[in-house]
């Protein structure tokens, strides 16, 4: 397992090199000039050329790339062109907000998704099954931005139960009230994934429940609860874990819309603004960071398989 993990971690290197080249090329080959966007519509040609020199944008592309990579390896992630701040601290603080949101959403999605899936499968074709699967289908289809706005109006404006946007009350920074602030964005983000997990769990459970060893377990006289949770669920979870792993990547990227609607200060909004402003150092740094996280999440998912299914072994 350790050897496998190390091997996977080594494989991270070519992945990141690939990602860095890809991001660098896509950004630099897209038309649009960061200097012009940064200096605004009223800057002169000389000012823009001077800024190109200052930012090193007048150098050949491969030299710019190597400079960037060497600096990253030295721990210098550069300075955001648009926001005039160091990239690394900026990415780290913003990622923290996204991570909190994503983890919360994943928690809701997995908990309620699994429960709904199990109930549906054990009570196949019952009223509960139909109701839950109908809700799952709805949740799967609802656009996040629409759901987010509706939740804001309902719980924030009409009922006045929950705050509408942001991460804390104005002027009161800190994590003290984060629970109240995360509910609406977290739920909006979770709904799609929750639905996906519920549907996946149901179909996977149904398949397992019909297998011989479940009948054997029942015949042994085990209680229905033990049969469902210890015997059926564990095996049904493997495809679900795959979906969860993929969905976490989806949550990370889906967070962009939710972050914009709920003014959540995460990395998604940072990247979108960065791309629009051709903020090369910021976008490159942020994408590299997110790609690294994504690779780690995938690794963890693969390790979880082995825990769930003794037949899978990485030794």
């Amino acid at each position: 397992m350790l050897k496998y993990s190390l091997k996977r971690l080594l494989a991270l290197i070519p992945v990141l090199i690939g990602v860095s080249i890809l991001v660098f090329l896509i950004l630099h080959l897209t038309p649009g000039d960061p200097a012009r966007i940064m200096l605004g519509p009223k800057a002169t040609e000389q000012a823009i050329e001077a800024l190109h020199r200052q930012l090193g944008l007048d150098l050949p592309l491969h030299i710019q790339y190597f400079q960037w990579v060497t600096n990253i390896l030295k721990g210098d992630w550069g300075r955001s062109i648009q926001l005039k701040r160091e990239v690394l601290p900026l990415v780290l603080t913003r990622f923290k907000a996204t991570a909190i949101l994503t983890v919360f959403a994943a928690f809701i999605a997995i908990t309620f998704g699994l429960l709904a899936g199990i109930v549906s499968a054990t009570k196949q074709y019952s009223l509960w099954d139909r109701l839950l699967m109908f809700l799952a289908l709805m949740g799967f289809c609802l656009p996040v931005f629409w759901l987010g706005l509706v939740l804001q109006v309902l719980f924030g404006l009409k009922l006045g139960w929950l705050p509408i946007s942001g991460m804390h009350p104005p002027g009161q920074a800190g994590m003290g009230s984060i629970f109240r602030y995360i509910i609406l964005p977290g739920f909006s983000l979770a709904v799609g994934t929750m639905a996906e997990i519920a549907r996946m769990t149901r179909s996977s459970m149904l398949e397992v429940i019909r297998q011989d060893y479940i009948r054997t377990a029942r015949a042994k006289g085990l209680s229905e609860r033990v049969v469902t949770y210890s015997h059926a669920l564990r095996n049904a979870l493997i495809p679900v874990v795959t979906v969860v792993g993929m969905q976490i990547g989806f949550l990370l990227s889906g967070a962009v819309l939710v972050e914009i609607i709920f003014a959540w200060p995460g990395i998604g909004t940072l990247m979108v603004n960065g791309i629009l402003a051709r903020d090369f150092p910021l976008v490159q740094g942020a994408i590299l960071f997110v790609a690294t996280i994504y690779v780690f999440v995938n690794l963890i998912v693969d390790l979880v398989y082995a825990l769930l299914d003794p037949r899978i072994s990485y030794n």
Partner: protein, 530 residues
Amino acid sequence: MKGMKTVKRIAFILILGLAVLAIAGCNGEAVDSENTIVIGIEAEPTSLDPTQIVDYNSSRAAMEMYDSLIRFKDGSTDLEPGLATEWDVSEDGLEYTFKLREGVKFHDETLFDAEAVKFNIDRQIDPDHEYHDTGEFGYADTTFGMVEEVIVLDENTVKIILDEPFAPFLGNMAMHSASMVSPAAIKEFGKDISQNPVGTGPFKFVSWDPGQEVILEKNEACWRGAPQVEKLIFRPIKENQTRLTELEAGSLDFIVGIPPDDLQRIRDTEELLVLEQPGMHTWYLALNCYRPPFDKKEVRQAANYAINKEAIVNDILKGTGIRAVNLLPPLLWGYTDDVRDYSYDPDKARELLEESGYGEAELTIDFHVPESGSGMQQPVAMATAIQSDLEAVGFKIKIQQLEWGTFLDKTEDPPETNEFIMHELSWMGDNGDPDNFLYTLLCGTQWPPKGFNGGFYKNDHVDSLLLEARKITDPARRIELYEEAQQLIVEDSPLIVVDHETQIVAMKKKIQGFELHPTGVFRFDKVTIQ
């Protein structure tokens, strides 16, 4: 039966969850101090150093902290003394001497003096200045490009020498880029001055939590008198609908960027107040006069008659702009509406197209449109309306949508390689001078990449009027020159002006005494809270 238990358990958990939510809800919003105004802006400020600011979200949050030597009066672009108490312009219009207000201190307690003025201007325009590399100054050339030297005469007197007479210079000295930043702070923070602003204005900096809020508090020692409001909190909220919901729920006190469809409802809401005023903004189509078909005046005029601007303003913008007849916004001095009237007249447009002699081949053109952009209002919807109007009289229009950064870049290509035959753009004035619109956008010396005359318009007579008007200081004579220039320009129709955007803000009625300013910055220094 076991299954039933599971169901019950799930139902229990769900109900428990809802109960927690409801209880959490009962705690209610933490009540802000009475004297705080929470303002919803459209995006995160990029810098709070006024010399580096190129967008409204930054200037709205920052300009409460700064003063310049000359200020725009409240509610207008007329000038009044700021950090300078009086000034004197030499006969030849080359030397400006400013007498500075004595005893004014920056928020860091250092003294404002003539050296500080010199430091601030030199930092922006002198590449060899020790602190030139502490920022990127997008407006330096527009504001101070004509400055040859800044001389400190004594502690409270400073003389600025220009390399050629430039009539709008006093207006430039009131622009945001001419604000005075504490030299001591620039020396201390270097490039990070962007996040550590220190000025002399009525509010001073408290904190900036990236992506969340910028907090300012009142400056008790302000030379203009301390403001009534204790605290200003600027919150960037990108989504218009969210910002509006926050205002209606009461968690924001003041917002910009109200969706046109919701405007009437907000106007009718008892507890809210909507302020509207045309700003120094013009939305226009630039026609490429360098190439067919718009190299012929008849075709440009035909396009101008063909477009139903009234309908665009009423049906697309829903009254968030006023119809334009001229490039200058009506609230600017020198404006005249005594120009050729291009009211919607498709028949006349067809006649003019006929006269031009151009056929379908020439009249088939690409129309370049940005997806969004600063001051662009609703670029795509407006372009679609324009397309159908033009096609109705015989043009064949293909809309090409570009992302804003890419679009801006292409507008600056030189005439030989510029692929834009027709594109939309908008302009916002900064110094309250007609020169800022007419010379900058239409003088024959200002073709890209040097300037912003993106339609490559050139009329020698117009050029001579505009060049003369920027050299002389007699206001009456300047007005005459600008009026004549406007008549000639509108006759030539190098641009099709559509509307002037209305500045719209909505606030709680408890905020009293707020007045919109034509330059688009906010002034909360005289506001009181009931």
